[in-house]
Amino acid sequence: MKQVAVLVFLVVLLAGLGFGQQTITIGFTESKTGALNVDSTEQYRGFELWKDQVNAAGGFKAGGKSYKVQFASYDDESNSKRVQQLYSRLILQDKADFLFSPYSSPLTATAAVVTEQYGKIMLTSGAAEGKTYTLGNHYLFQMFAPAPEYLKVSLDALKTKDPKATIAFVYEDSSFSVAVVTPAKAYAQQLGLNVVFTEAYAPATTDFSAIIDKVIASKATVLLGGGHYADGSTLARQLYGHKVPLKMLTLLVAPDSPQWAELGDAAVGVSVPSQWAPQSTFKSQYGPSGAEFAKAYQAKYNTPPSYESAGGYACGLILQRAIEQAGTIDSAKVADALNATDITSFYGRTKFATAANEHGLQAGHSMILAQWQKDKSGKLVKEVVWPLAAKSANLQYPIH
């Protein structure tokens, strides 16, 4: 009889442990189609790698319960109108506990409206524009370093290499690029650099001939700008096709993707401000190291991770830690835990601004500058070239 009782007790205990298993639902939209497809997929893979690792370990523990992660997601078609409808749906029908952002600043700004209206926490990645956080929010948390940081790395590098260079800013007329270039221009002038041409192009532009002719006429030797993958890659191709004599070309976002190598000769020498690179050597206080992350990502997706993927993974990681710290999935308590976060992971330092007029803005993370160079065998590789303390290769200047 005693054995039966013990058996029953064990069965009940195991069942009880089993019932302690909860699932949290994380909602987001992906740009499976549309112009943002390439960058969004990389971000999604970051999310997915984190989720798969958590679930493979049996979930993570918080407040005596064990949580597995499931995703609810839709295709936003790179379109902000769809984002609003879909985030409402994720919250109201799919009952998402937490949200991740879509990819890109304008889509994230749209999603933020919905998540704030319903009082749900959203961690944003792939969105560096800062204005969203100044509109008075309680539950937004930005993983990326904000836009004004982006081109500082290029300008700092340029100042040491060639202070007499003539600079052209050619960029996408949309919230992210504008948020990057406007402070960058002021910073350039502050550094005493010579800005000779500035022009924004409409977001859906595919033919840059007119603007390129103007760049040539302005005698610029450095071009900074771009926007996202579609326009950035086209701009680079066309600049190369028009044989524009640039000594330095920094484009936003696009060159960070491994797909950039497809451009062949047009890709050589192009630099990109980056939120993270596999060569970054942060001492990780929580979660995997940089090398472990890169290795796991490469094994799963057969391609090295870009900074969009790192940002995506970091969203999951930081959320997980906050839930563990809070001991519950209650939004208000998790938000408190996020507000108190100040930690270094493989991704770098993460700390969120907490003042009401800039809540959620990323305050701890800094940028690096990466550049595509040909290695000894002639293959295209991406190296970290700035800041000098973090570099893995020297900045190639001039690029042609």
């Binding site: 839709y74 749906r89 109201l92 304008p106 504008v178």
Partner: protein, 322 residues
């Protein structure tokens, strides 16, 4: 008032009541989100009907009124801290005046040339707004969260906006009904049938056209101000979507142009079809194919739309369902 003698007036009130009752009854926010899209589609289709169905002038660019209304509304609320209702009303008036100006320019054109001119106006306005600094060019404008405080916070504000949109929807249908049964409406029908003959018979076509074009802009502009307030953001690509303009025409043709119920029916059905198709994983790419196919069938075989077919079936319905 003559309009009170029409049974359809009460049908409009009933429809509005249904739209309000069901979401409120279960505090069903998800249903409200679905229905608000239907209501906006009905507003756009009904007002478009005034130009296409009544006057016979095909307006391909009518979404420009909605978008401009949204811009004026968001600008007044976010930059000048106006309250929602005055902002929406001013948006309506301002855009109607713009419509009057555009109308003066293009209403002398006939048929397809008028249609093309309306496309030109839509694209020109979008290009202008994309360059207009005070409205933040291509980046667009965002409402701070504090904009919802005067209405008691985001949750309450969204409900209030919903009631206002339903009100605008009812007004759109009543406007259509009133014009249809008025002397002004008769003049419009005469213009549609044969403009030159109408002029000879004493209809001041120039004035009539200008008035109806301007009037057809008012309620869509108000709706635009309300909807973009709800969405808390606006930019040129979502404010002036050409496809939305064209879908308005599809809705009208589907339901039956000329009839008030036709506009509402077509809008309601099309919007539900579109929502269903867009969130269905297998069918989301086919919404355009199905919509296009439906339109083709209607144009080729039943130009009177669903309502036209219904009237043929039950001729006495014409007096009740207008």
């Amino acid at each position: 008032m003559m309009i009170l003698r029409h049974p359809f007036f009460y049908i409009i009130l009933l429809i509005a009541a249904v739209f309000i009752y069901f979401p409120v009854h279960g505090d069903n926010v998800s249903l409200r989100e679905d229905l608000i899209l239907v209501a906006v589609a009905i507003i756009l289709a009904s007002n478009l009907n005034l130009m296409i169905g009544y006057t016979g002038y095909v307006n391909f660019g009518h979404i420009v009124f909605y978008g401009l209304g949204g811009y004026v509304g968001i600008y007044l609320v976010s930059v000048h801290n106006w309250r929602l209702v005055p902002a929406a009303l001013v948006a309506g008036v301002a855009v109607s005046l713009c419509a009057l100006l555009f109308g003066l320019l293009i209403l002398r054109l006939r048929g397809a040339y008028f249609a093309l001119a309306t496309i030109g106006i839509l694209q020109a306005v979008q290009a202008f707004v994309s360059n207009f600094g005070p409205w933040e060019r291509s980046t667009g404008m965002y409402l701070p969260m504090t904009a919802y405080q005067p209405l008691g916070g985001a949750t309450r504000a969204l409900w209030i906006t919903y009631y206002l949109i339903i009100g605008v929807m009812a007004l759109s249908m009543m406007l259509s009904l009133a014009i249809k049964n008025s002397k002004f409406g008769l003049g419009l029908f005469a213009i549609r049938e044969d403009e030159d003959a109408a002029v000879v018979l004493g209809v001041n076509a120039t004035v009539y056209k200008a008035i109806v074009y301007s009037v057809s802009a008012f309620l869509p502009a108000v709706a635009g101000a309300l909807m973009f307030y709800k969405n808390a953001m606006i930019d040129p690509s979502i404010a002036f979507e050409f496809m939305l303009s064209l879908e308005g025409i599809v809705m009208l043709m589907l339901g039956g142009q000329g009839a008030v119920m036709g506009a509402a029916l077509g809008a309601g059905l099309y919007e539900r079809l579109r929502s269903y198709l867009l969130t269905s994983p297998t069918l989301s790419n086919f919404h355009l194919v199905i919509a296009g196919g439906l339109l083709l069938l209607v144009v080729l075989f039943s130009p009177g739309g669903l309502i036209g077919w219904f009237y043929r079936l039950v001729p006495s319905a014409r007096k009740v369902i207008e």
